[in-house]
C-alpha cells in the first residue's frame, strides 16, 4: 500500500446504473446530452477529492434502458478545462477501432487535462456493434481478449514513440526535432500491424493510466501485464484478495513491480440517510424497471454503513480502493461526496486535499520510464 488513503473513483454513465434510474425524481433525463450536466457531475466528484471519474461507453446501445450516449473520450475532453485536479478515465473500445487513433486521442486527453487522463479499453462483444461497422463478424471471447491485449500493447508503444526530449528547437542546425528520439514501433500482431511513430508527442504522464476490467482469467492476465488500475467485480473481500494476489503474481512474472498495480472493486451504491429510506427508494426503482437489474456487487443503505464496508475491505488488504457506481445520478453521487467521503476522511481513509495534479499522482504511481529511451 503506497498511501494510507483508499483510492476512490466514481462511474458516470447516463442517469446512473439502475435501469430505471432515469425515471427517478432525482434524475435529469432531459439533460443527458447537455455538457453542463457532465460538468456538474465531474465538479461534484472533484469537490469530493476523488481520484477519478470513469466514463462508460460502447459502440452499441448502452445496457441501461437509455438508447443514447455521447462519445466518452470527447466528454472527458470537454470536462478537462472545466475541472482542475480530478482524473478522467473514458472508455475507448478495441474491436472495431484503430489503435493509432485511440493512442492519439487518449494522449491528447492527457495534454488537454495536463496529466489527468486514463483509458479504459473494452472489447465490443455484440453482433449489433459488429453490424455498425460491417467489417467483421463477432469474434469469440478469447479472440476479443487477444485483440484487446495487442491493442493495449501497441497503444503503450505509440505513447513511448516520442521521447520526452524529442523536440529540440535547435536554431543553429535548423532542426525542430531530433529524429533519434522518435521511434518506429513496427508492431506486427495477429490483428494489425502499426508502423508509428505516433503523430502526437509523448503525453505529460508519459503513459496515461490504463484501467482494465477483470472478468475472467484472460482479462486478469491482460490487466496484470498492462494495466495500472484493475477494475474487479468481486462478490466479497476474500474473492477480491485472491484476485489481487493473482494479479500481483502475474505482474511479477512479467517483470512488473506489483506495487504499481491498483486493484479497485466495483460497487453500485444506493444511499439514503436511513436504511429503510434507502431500501424503499431502491424498491421503487426495481418496481419501475422492465428489465432485470444488472449483476454485480451492490450496496443499499446509509453512508455510514457503506464506509464500514469499504474500510473493512481496504484495511483487510483485499483491495486498493473502489469504483463506486451511483445507482441514480446525480443523487447517489451527491451522497458519496457530501456524506460518505467526510466519514472516510474522519477515519483517515480519504484525502483532505489533493496532493498531486496528475492522475498518476493521485494513484501514487510513478511516471513510467520510456521503453525506447537509451539512457
Amino acid at each position: 500500500m503506497t498511501t494510507g488513503h483508499l483510492h476512490l473513483g466514481v462511474a458516470l454513465d447516463g442517469a446512473g446504473r439502475h435501469p430505471a434510474a432515469w425515471r427517478s425524481p432525482h434524475a435529469r433525463p432531459a439533460e443527458l446530452f447537455d455538457p453542463r450536466y457532465w460538468v456538474e457531475l465531474a465538479r461534484t466528484a472533484e469537490r469530493g477529492l476523488l481520484d477519478f471519474v470513469r466514463l462508460d461507453d460502447s459502440l452499441g446501445s448502452p445496457s441501461t434502458r437509455i438508447p443514447g450516449r455521447l462519445d466518452a473520450v470527447s466528454v472527458a475532453a470537454r470536462l478537462a478545462p472545466a475541472t482542475g485536479s480530478i482524473g478522467l478515465i473514458p472508455t475507448a473500445t478495441t474491436t472495431h477501432t484503430e489503435p493509432f487513433h485511440v493512442s492519439t486521442s487518449i494522449a491528447t486527453l492527457d495534454h488537454v487535462s495536463r496529466g489527468r487522463a486514463g483509458w479504459w479499453p473494452q472489447p465490443s462483444r455484440t453482433a449489433a456493434e459488429a453490424r455498425h461497422f460491417g467489417r467483421k463478424p463477432v469474434a469469440s471471447a478469447g479472440e476479443l481478449s487477444d485483440e484487446q491485449a495487442e491493442f493495449v500493447d501497441v497503444v503503450g508503444r505509440l505513447w513511448d514513440s516520442w521521447e520526452d526530449d524529442a523536440i529540440i528547437r535547435d536554431v543553429a542546425t535548423s532542426r525542430f526535432l531530433d529524429r533519434k528520439k522518435l521511434h518506429y514501433v513496427d508492431f506486427e500482431g495477429t490483428y494489425f500491424d502499426v508502423r508509428g511513430p505516433s503523430i502526437t508527442p509523448r503525453p505529460p504522464q508519459g503513459r496515461p493510466v490504463i484501467a482494465i476490467t477483470v472478468d475472467g482469467p484472460d482479462t486478469l492476465e491482460i490487466a496484470a501485464r498492462f494495466a495500472d488500475v484493475l477494475f474487479v467485480d468481486a462478490s466479497g473481500p476474500d474473492e477480491a484478495r485472491r484476485l489481487r494476489e493473482r494479479a500481483h503474481a502475474i505482474a511479477e512474472g512479467n517483470g512488473r513491480d506489483p506495487g504499481e498495480l491498483r486493484v479497485l472493486a466495483e460497487i453500485t451504491v444506493y444511499l439514503a440517510a436511513t436504511d429503510s429510506d434507502a431500501r424503499r427508494e431502491r424498491g421503487l426503482l426495481d418496481a419501475r424497471s422492465d428489465v432485470p437489474v444488472p449483476n454485480g456487487l451492490s450496496f443499499t443503505g446509509t453512508p455510514e454503513a457503506l464506509a464500514d464496508r469499504l474500510a473493512g475491505w481496504y484495511v483487510g488488504g483485499a483491495v486498493d480502493g473502489f469504483t463506486l457506481i451511483p445507482g441514480v445520478l446525480p443523487y447517489d453521487l451527491d451522497r458519496i461526496v457530501e456524506d460518505l467521503v467526510p466519514i472516510l476522511r474522519e477515519r483517515g481513509l480519504a484525502r483532505a486535499a489533493y496532493t498531486a495534479d496528475t492522475l498518476r499522482g493521485h494513484l501514487g504511481l510513478p511516471l513510467p520510464a520510456n521503453r525506447y529511451a537509451r539512457t
Partner: protein
Amino acid sequence: MPQPNSPRPNNSQPNSPQPNSPHTKSPYRPRSPGHPTRRIHLAAHFPGVNSTTVWSDPRSGSQIDFDSFEHLARTAERGRFDFFFLAEGQRLREHHGRIFELDVAGRPDALTVLAALAAITDRIGLAATATATYNEPYELARKIASLDHLSAGRAAWNVVTSPDAWTGENFRRGGFLPREERYERAIEFVEAARTLWDSWAPDAHVADAEGGVFAAPGAGRFDYHGRHFAIDGRFTVPRGPQGRPVLIQAGDSTDGREFGAAHADVIFSRHGEYEAGRAFYADMKGRAARHGRSPDELKILPAVTAVIGATAEQAQEKAAWIRRQQVSPQNAIQFLEQVWGRDLSDLDPDGPLPDFDPITDGTSIARGRVRTGGDPLELARSWRELAAAKGGLSLREVVIEVAARQTFIGTAEHVADRMEVHVRDGASDGFILVPHLTPTGLDEFVDQVVPILQERGVFRSEYEGTTLREHLHLPAPRPAGTHRTDVAV
C-alpha cells in the same frame, strides 16, 4: 519544408505587382454605390506542420500544449471569427526515408482538442479535419455528433482523403484503397454519416419519466448499404443542435471539386490569390448549381496569410523577414532535394542553383506532404530563369521566392481593403487565416484588421446566432433524401 509547386507565370511571383501588392492602387473604393454589401466569413487555422509555421522565432510557443490552442481559439473568438480549424496528418513526414526534422511536427487529435476548447469558448465554430480513408462512419459520425452536443452546435468536419499506402501503415486496414476510389469512399462515408445524424428526429429524445418513454420508438435506427459500407443498427447520439454538423471539403482535383460541390457546406481552398480565386470560385459555384444547389449554400474560403505593418514599406520588410525565417538554409537545400531527387547537402545555400538537372525517375524522396507537383526539369528551368532575371539569386533566395505563400501584405487598412475586394468581386466568401506563429500569430489581425472590417459593416461585430451554421448563414439541413431541384439557382 515548403512544397515545390508547378511553375507559375512571372506575374504571379510574390514580389511582382499584382492586385494584392500595397504598391498597386486599389482599383476599388470600398463603399461605392451599387454594390450590395457582402459579408465576409473568417476562420482561424492553427499553425500547421510545414515551413509556413516559424518555430525559430523567440515568440514561438508550444505546438502541443493546450495553452496554445486556448490562446488562438480565444483570440479568434474575440475577433468574432466563424470557426477555428485544425488540420490533420496521420503519419510524420519523411525525407530520404527518415523522419523530417526541420519543421514543426507533433499534433494532437483534432476532435479531442476541440471538445476541450468547447469548454473555454462560447460561440466560435470548431472544425476538425478527419480522413474518410482511415476511419469508419459509425465511430467518426458519433464523435462529431458528440462534439456538436458538447459545443452546443458548433461542430464542423473537414473531410479529406488519404490515398497513400504509406500513411496506411499506421492502420489496421493499411493502404487498401486504390487512388481512384478515394472519393467514392468519401461520398459514401458522408452519406452514411448523414444517415446516422438523421437517424434521430429532432424531438426523438423524449425523456418522459412518467410515461416511461426515454426515446421515440425507432430513434437511432439506420441502414446504409453502399459499395464501401454495409452497416445497420442503432445510432446512439441524438440529433445535435445543428441538425447536421457543418461539412468542409478541401480537395482540388476534378473528383474533389465535384464531391465538394455536391456535398460540402464550405470549401477550404488553396486559391487565395485574386485571379485564381475568382476562377476557382466561379468553377465551384457553377458546379454547385449543376447539383441543384443555391450558390449561397456553398461557402468558398481559401487559406490566406496576412502581414500587417504600420506602413506599406514596414509590412513589406516584415513579410520579407518572415519569408527568410520560413526558409532556413537547411530547409532550402531539402526543398531543392525534393525536386532534384537526390542528396544536395554539399551545396552552399548562398551559392547558385545546381548546374546539373534533376533526376526524373518519378520517385519522391519526400513523403507526407499534401502536394508535390510539376515536372522537375520544367521547375528547374523556370527557377534558373527566375534567379537570372532577379540579378543572380542564391539557391536559398530562389526557394524563398517560390515557396512563399503570402497573400495580403500592407497596412491594416490595405489588408481590409483587399479582403473586401476579394469578397465583393467573387474571389471568395471569406478567408481561413493561417498564421505563421503559434499561438500569437492572429493577435495583430484581430486587433487591427477586424475592427476596420466591422466598422465598414462587412464583418459581424457580435455573433448573431449561436451555431456555426448560423454564423455561416447556411440553411437548416434538409432531411436525408430530399430532392434539391426546388432550389432557385
